[in-house]
């Protein structure tokens, strides 16, 4: 059984209250961190090798060390705008153990020398926002937030900011614009938020899970934390498994666990009589992998080498009852809806990809359309301010490349239905007795 750090006894009744959290040793890491110097705390974060859990996987300690020194307003922002399809780990963490996040934020603010902090939570998480709001009030009352925390030189304010439903606000610069009260359009980078972020001040932005891990790193010591997991992907990770599996949910795994173990042993595998067709290893934005990739170790580097990514740690399993084109269209429609419209390749690329995929259904398409779809994906990638366009282009490009036969079959069938072509050979899906 893998080690449980974040999810250890997560269902303990009352864990969301300060009393139970303190009884379990909560906020002792904060006391310990405040006795260390800022540099020591930062060194622990660097030693831990903790990589960002939100999607990009950038080393958290290094990001914190990028903030300039000096006396000025510095900001710490917690990205709780968890809207990557398939991801729901932060929801459970915030709902069940809000103080873990708050403690992590205070320690991270100490390491980065920040004096103002914000939690940007997505507007749909009303229950979680209420729980956090109550927890923040308790923490402030107990002196864990505010002026001169626990008698130290650290002062920190914490504001919970509710978003209003926009996927793009999970992108760090889009989030900052939204937090400043504007439309959530991403900004050009550089300057990176570490130099010019919120209100043009130095800003450290981290995901909920990353910040919630910080107290545990201080408790265990950075070097001891780094012993968990693999050399380049240290620690444990919350993995959200969803889709066509028997027991979907959040699981805490040690990084480097084989994906098969996560999907079959923890999430119960596909339903009886069904086979896994393909799976997204890191949210809907990651290129899809096939059943033969199930034995890959689930960590940042292995998945990157396999041409995909760990992303937010959301595994979406798709079984053989679902036509690939349905998933592709669903995905493309989502990104079309959520594209903020600032950069042309993303705004037009997502829009036309949806239109081309719909042509596949109406029988107007020919296999040449697949080449055009693939080339549009190529032209979106790397050409926008943020990676929303890439987030559609990567999985869609991989689906068209890996299931081209099925797409072509679908085109033939649709053409036949529209009275435009000869009857096609039966498809694999029909042979399996499913059809759509």
């Amino acid at each position: 059984m893998s080690q449980h750090i974040l999810f250890d006894d997560i269902d303990e009744p009352g864990l969301a209250t300060l009393q139970v959290y303190e009884r379990r040793g909560g906020y002792s890491s904060l006391r310990r961190a405040l006795q260390m110097s800022r540099e020591e705390v930062l060194q622990n974060l660097l030693d831990s090798g903790l990589r960002g859990r939100g999607g990009a996987g950038f080393a958290m300690g290094r990001k914190a060390s990028f903030l300039p020194k000096g006396t000025m307003d510095k900001y710490l922002v917690c990205n709780a705008d968890e809207s990557e399809p398939g991801t729901f780990k932060d929801r459970e963490l915030m709902q069940k153990s809000p103080h873990m996040l708050i403690e992590g934020m205070v320690i991270a603010a100490y390491a980065a020398d920040a004096n103002r902090s914000f939690i940007y939570i997505r507007g749909e998480y009303e229950l979680q926002a209420d729980i956090l709001e109550a927890a923040i009030a308790q923490a402030r009352e107990a002196g864990y937030l505010g002026e001169r925390i626990l008698g130290s030189e650290l002062s920190l304010s914490l504001v919970l900011h509710r978003g209003a439903g926009a996927y793009i606000c999970g992108e760090e610069t889009g989030l900052l614009d939204s937090l400043e009260g504007k439309r959530g359009n991403p900004r050009l980078k550089p300057p990176f938020p570490a130099n010019q972020g919120l209100y043009q001040g130095p800003t450290l932005i981290n995901n909920v899970e990353t910040l919630a891990t910080v107290p545990h790193i201080i408790r265990m010591g950075g070097e001891n934390y780094a012993k968990i997991g693999t050399e380049s992907s240290t620690g444990t990770k919350l993995v959200s498994v969803s889709g066509n599996v028997q027991s979907p949910g959040n699981f805490e795994i040690t990084l480097g666990t084989p994906a098969r173990e996560i999907i079959y042993d923890l999430a119960g595998g596909p339903f009886p009589g069904r086979e896994i067709r393909f799976w997204f290893p890191g949210g809907s934005s990651s290129p899809v992998l096939l059943p033969e990739d199930l034995d890959l170790a689930y960590d940042f580097n292995t998945l990157a080498q396999a041409g995909s990514m760990l992303g937010s740690g959301a595994i979406i399993v798709v079984d053989d009852s679902v036509p690939v084109i349905d998933v592709a269209l669903k995905l493309a429609k989502f990104y079309k809806h959520e594209s903020c419209g600032k950069c042309t390749p993303c705004r037009e690329g997502t829009n036309w990809t949806v239109k081309m995929l719909e042509r596949l259904e109406t029988g107007e398409a020919t296999p040449m359309d697949l080449d055009i779809i693939a080339s549009v994906q190529q032209q979106i990638m790397g050409n926008c301010l943020c990676v929303l366009g890439d987030a559609m282009a990567m999985p869609l490009g991989s689906m068209v490349a890996r299931f081209r036969g099925e797409f072509e079959q679908h085109i033939e069938e649709a053409r036949f239905r529209a009275g435009l072509g000869a009857p096609p050979e039966p498809s694999e899906v029909e042979i399996a007795g499913v059809g759509n």
Binding site: D8, D9, R162, Y167, L179, G184, G249
Partner: protein, 215 residues
């Protein structure tokens, strides 16, 4: 396919200027003397503005508050927010139209957001959405939408009903949802996410302890 003549109307997006008289100068910051603002809304917005180093950050919380009071981001609601925040209604309209949770037209009181993103649709969310639409039978009291991923794929297919997450939903639940809402009861209480425990076997220390204690 082409029921809209693409260039015949002079614009690719018909109706983008419907509500606007383009010959008029844009509205400025509303005059407090002629814009009555309900006191509770004013104090809520002012409290939000005080929380941030830059008062503009309160735009989204202020719009949430106004929408809660008015039911939607009506011109009147935007005017009131603009008056308290000393911004133009145009700025707030630009912000409000960006976000999915702000309504630029009147909607039903009960929000039923059915997640129809990938994980939920793999488990039949589209059928659940249609069933709820059928069960509500066009009642204007219900604001039924298919929503992008709500972040609860573990209870797929799910819906956020007046802010409460419930799932996994079955087709038969559609009637219950509508009945519960009409009767003012908590909706599908046994399927509320508050009740869901972690499925991770390693995370269940206290659960096994409880069972041990009982045994």
């Amino acid at each position: 396919m082409s029921d809209v003549a693409r260039f015949g109307h002079g614009s690719r997006i018909p109706g983008w200027d419907d509500a606007v008289d383009l010959t008029k100068a844009p509205a400025g910051v509303p005059d407090p003397a002629t814009t009555p603002v309900p006191p509770e809304l004013r104090s809520e917005i002012e409290a939000a503005m005080a929380k941030y180093p830059d008062f503009r950050s309160a735009a989204i919380p202020a719009l949430h508050a106004a929408q809660k009071l008015h039911g939607w981001c009506s011109p009147e609601a935007l005017e009131q927010v603009a008056c308290v925040m000393r911004l133009t209604p145009g700025y707030l309209t630009a912000v409000a139209t960006f976000y999915d949770m702000f309504y630029m037209e009147p909607v039903g009181r009960h929000r039923i957001f059915v997640c129809t993103n990938i994980s939920c649709s793999l488990r039949g969310a589209d059928a659940v959405h249609d069933a709820i639409v059928d069960a509500a039978a066009g009642d204007p009291d219900f604001n039924i939408r298919s929503f992008e991923c709500l972040g609860a794929c573990d209870i797929a297919p799910m819906a956020s009903i007046d802010g409460e997450y419930v799932g996994p939903l079955e087709l038969a639940d559609a009637e219950r949802i509508v009945e519960d809402l009409r009767a003012g009861r908590p909706v599908l209480e046994e399927k509320n996410i508050r009740r869901r425990r972690s499925v991770d076997p390693g995370a269940r220390r206290s659960a096994t302890r409880d069972e041990d204690a009982r045994a």
